[in-house]
């Protein structure tokens, strides 16, 4: 299961999405998310899904890879759906009596739940698409570029960017490590799958302690390795590859803006 976490995994490629300039891609992704939370009618939902689908096709990232990335989030999905289903006030369509209480499913709840699932799904898809098509190095570079104006007010933009890359970079490593330790403890008879919540929580101890120990060890090793290569923060650091926006980015942005305009038109014109 832990191997399925794809956030932070980069699939090398040469699609237009891969070739686009990282800071621009990040900005577009942010807009993508904002739009995702603004659209509010079935036609635009459909159009938005279609855009995303086209983006995935263009990126040549296998659809399976993205769907697999959704799987570890399943619990969050279920939780969101349940909360929305039962907690939204409105017209009751179905009541479930539990002891003294009755849980009411409302039609508003169903709609709200579906919307939230839709948003979560595309939130993950959109951000995965960014990290799947941008190498971690480009990604930090992009973040740093975007944060640079803030260093005037003493925001440590380079450090933030570096910390983010390291964190992202280590997700798969930690996932792998978790898998390994889990196997080792399973071989010693540990059982992570059965029992009630308390038993399961207890069963996590043999997993978490070695994991923390190894995370600290890795952090220590990485720090030493960085220092040994004379890393001293962002001061006066130059880049071998300057990222410059090019034709492809202009094209990308244009397409994005057109898509956005279509969405806005749909929102305004199509009444429901």
């Amino acid at each position: 299961m832990f191997k399925d976490i794809i956030i932070g995994q980069y699939i090398p490629g040469n699609s237009p999405l891969h070739r686009m300039n990282a800071p621009i891609k990040i900005i577009l992704t942010i807009f993508y998310i904002i739009i995702l939370f603004f659209i509010n009618n079935p036609i635009s939902y459909l159009a938005f899904a279609l855009y995303t689908f086209i983006l995935v096709l263009v990126s040549k990232v296998p659809l399976k890879m993205i769907l697999k990335g959704i799987r570890p989030m399943l619990w969050i999905f279920i939780f969101t759906a349940v909360v929305n289903l039962f907690m939204t006030p409105g017209e009751t369509v179905w009541s479930i009596p539990i002891f003294k209480f009755t849980l009411n499913i409302t039609s508003e709840g169903i709609i709200q739940g579906a919307k939230m699932l839709y948003r979560l799904f595309f939130l993950i898809t959109g951000t995965s698409l960014l990290t799947l098509t941008t190498s971690p190095l480009q990604l930090t570079d992009g973040i740093e570029t975007l944060l640079r104006p803030l260093s005037k007010i003493k925001v440590p933009s380079h450090e933030i960017a570096m910390m983010m890359t390291i964190a992202i970079r280590f997700i798969p490593t930690l996932a792998e490590e978790t898998d390994k330790i889990m196997k080792a403890q399973t071989a010693r008879g540990a059982d992570f799958e059965s029992g009630n919540i308390i038993r399961r929580a207890k069963a996590m101890v043999p997993l978490l302690i070695p994991l923390f120990v190894s995370a600290f060890r890795r952090a220590d090793e990485l720090a030493t390795a960085m220092e040994a290569r004379c890393y001293r923060g962002g001061m006066g650091r130059t880049k071998m590859k300057e990222n410059k926006a090019g034709i492809i980015d202009l094209k990308g942005c244009t397409i994005f803006v057109i898509a956005l305009l279509v969405l806005i038109l749909l929102e305004i014109l199509v009444e429901f």
């Binding site: 080792a184 008879g189 540990a190 070695p210 120990v213």
Partner: protein, 286 residues
């Protein structure tokens, strides 16, 4: 007995990083054998041994341990994992308890044994691994790397498996630490007549010194299988797949090419010393 029939395994099936790690593995390992698995990095050694206690299930093919079909859906995995103990590469990374004693007791405890039985097993396997009584109450994190590794091995041994598998047990140890671990493996083999011991190694010297049988893996399939003599006599083939014979064998082979009359099957320094002494003695007599 361990039996593998046409075992194939593919990692990340259907993904861009898909990789066939095992290709049509067929093998049989008899009770009481001491087997070494050698092979180039990435040849599938670790993947193969994880099949032996059903941590990994083959994509296709069948694995049997003592007649239990591990691959079938309703196999009793708990029983299989009790029978087959795996010590993973760098096992010291999986220690977690407050004391060495408790860490060794983790496996037996999961088996649901009584406290006395657990105590007996912990002390017995600690002794087997040469862990001193006074260390039992220490935190495992305060030990040296080599000591930690012994604790981890003791933890698996305390489950009294009928198959003990060690993935690169000597990796990253100093020569003394290596020899100690190898000695322990040998001792375990002598003391437990029916126990299968399998260890993965990158060191031909270790294999020659310790193992009885050798399985050679290459790119996911079994390239060779046989006694130490049988395998190391094919030095050309071994070199082709990125492996080698022990250094001392290379030396005696060179000497043989230069016209010295040495036997073929010299795989340890001791054997070489013996043979050369004999030869030298013979020369002097002439």
């Amino acid at each position: 007995m361990i039996k593998a029939e046409n075992v194939c395994y593919v990692y990340q099936i259907g993904m861009p990083f898909e990789r066939q790690a095992l290709k049509n593995i067929n093998l049989e390992i008899d009770d009481g054998s001491l087997v070494a698995i050698i092979g180039h990095t990435g040849s599938g050694k670790s993947t193969l041994i994880q099949h032996f206690n059903a941590l990994v299930k083959p994509t296709s093919g069948k694995i049997e341990i003592d007649g239990i079909n591990v691959t079938s859906k309703d196999a009793d995995l708990k029983l299989v994992r009790r029978k087959v103990g795996i010590v993973f590469q760098y096992p010291e990374h999986q220690l977690f308890e407050e004391t060495v004693y408790k860490d060794i007791a983790f496996g037996p405890k999961n088996m649901g044994l009584s406290d006395e039985e657990i105590d007996r097993r912990v002390r017995e396997s600690a002794k087997m691994l040469g862990i001193k009584e006074k260390h039992l109450e220490k935190s495992p994190f305060d030990l040296s790397g080599g000591q930690k590794r012994r604790v981890a091995i003791a933890g698996v041994l305390a489950m009294r498996p009928s198959v003990l598998i060690l993935d690169e047990p000597t990796a990253g140890l100093d020569p003394k630490g290596r020899d100690d671990i190898l000695e322990i493996i040998k001792k375990l083999h002598e003391k437990n007549e029916k126990m299968i011991i399998i260890f993965v190694s990158h060191s031909m010297e270790d294999v020659a010194k310790t193992a009885e049988k050798v399985i050679v893996m290459n790119e996911g399939h079994v390239e060779m299988m046989g006694t130490v003599d049988e395998v190391f006599s094919k030095s050309k083939k071994l070199q082709e797949i990125g492996l080698d014979v022990p250094q001392i064998t290379r030396l005696t082979n060179k000497l043989k090419d230069a016209g010295y009359d040495l036997p073929d099957n010299i795989y340890t320094v001791e054997e070489a010393a013996e043979a050369i002494k004999k030869l030298a003695g013979g020369v002097r007599n002439v």
